[in-house]
């Protein structure tokens, strides 16, 4: 990509960002309701939140989401990759068929019963939901791979392990990272759900707490913090993708 275009795109992000804030401001002024404060009011609440303990809650939420995604990734990717073989897929395919369409979030009562109301339950629920999103994508990527790549590698004297290392994994990686970017949104939605009760830590708690106090600037400050969390994860993943999948963008 020419550097001129990159610069241009940097500008476009800024313009769209400002435009969104402007629309928010317009709505806040037009609605004139305490339920939608102006961006400036929220900004001040955010700053005073930082001086208080907003960052601690943000950190705790980040840890929960981070663990959830990392755990899901480390379980789903290997399982998805080995499904390239019919022998393995015989078991993985029915697993996906039967368990993926099921709304995993309703498992919350069971998970709390089994793992308590601590961080573990929260992480496990995020893991389960993200796990399936990544598994479905990784499996599809591994199975739709042209067999020519595998034949080509075999003819060079590759072993079974080499096939994963040199073909299946690198070929599926762009799809895995896309699945991860998509699952960030889901992970944070689940995070809000699991943090909205039986805890006194995390951004979900802050949102529910501010809501019950009808402190709308605080409520939106917590929402902004949650959005920032998602935004940062998204940016990091995109950077990682450009780095490790340079061939896609070459």
């Amino acid at each position: 990509m020419p550097s001129g275009e990159k610069e241009h795109r940097g500008w476009s992000y800024l313009i769209i960002g400002l435009l969104l804030v402007a629309i928010w401001h317009l709505f806040a002024v037009l609605l004139n309701s305490i339920a939608l404060p102006t961006p400036i009011a929220v900004f001040y609440a955010f700053i005073s939140g930082i001086k208080n303990d907003l960052l601690t809650h943000l950190f705790i939420s980040a840890i929960r989401v981070g663990y959830g995604i990392a755990l899901a990734l480390s379980l789903a990717v290997p399982l998805g990759l080995v499904s390239y073989k019919n022998r393995t897929d015989k078991f993985v395919a029915p697993l996906i068929y039967l368990l993926y369409p099921f709304p995993h979030i309703v498992l919350l009562p069971l998970i709390i019963l089994l793992f308590g109301i601590g961080d573990l339950s929260k992480i496990i629920l995020i893991t389960i939901i993200v796990f399936f999103q990544i598994l479905v994508t990784t499996r599809d990527a591994a199975r739709n791979l042209s067999t020519n790549y595998i034949y080509s590698l075999l003819s060079l004297g590759a072993s079974e392990k080499d096939i994963y290392r040199h073909v299946i994994f690198p070929a599926s990686l762009p799809k895995i990272l896309t699945a991860m970017r998509i699952s960030i949104g889901t992970a944070i939605a689940v995070l809000f759900f699991v943090e909205s009760f039986a805890t006194t830590k995390g951004l979900g708690y802050l949102i529910m707490d501010a809501w019950s106090r009808m402190d709308y600037p605080d409520l939106y400050a917590a929402i902004v913090a949650m959005a920032l969390l998602g935004f940062c994860l998204y940016v990091v993943l995109e950077k990682v993708e450009h780095k490790v999948c340079a061939w896609v963008y070459a």
Binding site: N148, S155, L156, G157, H166, P170, A171, C245, W247, A250
Partner: protein
């Protein structure tokens, strides 16, 4: 010496790809395998290279049955078989890298020679130089033209210094000019390196230009219609001679005869 002894292949889905295919190619010979699309040419190459097992019959190299990919044999696939996620350098050195570690499962035998990292670098660099790919080491295949991509494919196969080169329509997606250049390249490679070449193609001129022996296969299931000797192969100007055109006509007649 490559021998195909009554090779038949039926895929698990019931498709019969090859029926009783027999021919042999002596050491240092070049052989073209030609036939209508879908006649099992690729299957035949996969069997000769040890990637697929025949349903019946066997492939022999130097009198030994082919059971797994051998170090002596390099395979070049249609549409290059390059890995888009690897750079030019990584693609070319991959075979050496894979072969440089002791292969397990091959009856516990260590595969020699052991090529170290430095040695690999030297082999790859000189090959890239020879094939006009110097300076493109860190490019990805898709950044290069079709002709260059195919040369990467050749470089990767040649890096293993194989005695047998099996090629599956290696030039089929190239434009006419690039195609002729690479045909000349293959001809010189065969003449100068003493490598045994098997070229699967559906292009009659290519089969006649490069194959001292031309095996004509029938449509599916592929079986040998005719084996044509073509001793004049070896000169780049062969393609402009009357003998060449006569041979092309002979091959075309055999194909048409076998297709009906």
């Amino acid at each position: 010496m490559i021998e195909s002894k009554g090779i038949s292949k039926v895929y698990p889905d019931g498709t019969e790809a090859l029926r009783e295919v027999s021919f042999d190619i002596s050491e240092g010979e070049s052989c073209s395998v030609i036939g209508p699309s879908g006649c099992g040419k690729t299957t035949l190459l996969f069997i000769l290279s040890g990637i697929l097992k025949p349903t019946s019959g066997k492939a022999l190299i130097e009198g030994k049955e082919v059971v797994s990919p051998s170090k002596e044999v390099a395979l070049i696939l249609q549409d290059y078989g390059l890995f888009p996620w690897k750079t030019v350098y990584e693609n070319v050195s991959l075979g050496l890298e894979l072969r440089s570690k002791p292969l397990q499962g091959l009856r516990g035998r260590r595969v020699e020679p052991h090529t170290g990292k430095k040695e690999r670098r030297e082999i790859v660099s000189s090959l890239l130089q020879d094939l006009g790919l110097k300076g493109f080491e860190n490019h990805y295949p898709k950044q290069l033209s079709g002709g260059m991509q195919q040369r990467i494919g050749f470089a990767r196969a040649l890096a293993l210094n194989p005695r047998i080169l099996l090629m599956d329509e290696p030039l089929s997606s190239l434009d006419a000019l690039t195609r002729e250049t690479l045909q000349n390249f293959l001809l010189n490679l065969w003449k100068n390196n003493g490598v045994t070449m098997v070229l699967v193609t559906h292009n009659i001129e290519e089969a006649v230009f490069l194959g001292r022996k031309i095996v004509v296969l029938s449509s599916r299931p592929g079986s040998v219609v005719k084996t044509i000797e073509n001793h004049k192969v070896g000169d780049v100007n062969y393609r402009n001679t009357e003998d060449f055109f006569e041979k092309c006509r002979a091959v075309r007649r055999s194909i048409e005869g076998g297709a009906t």
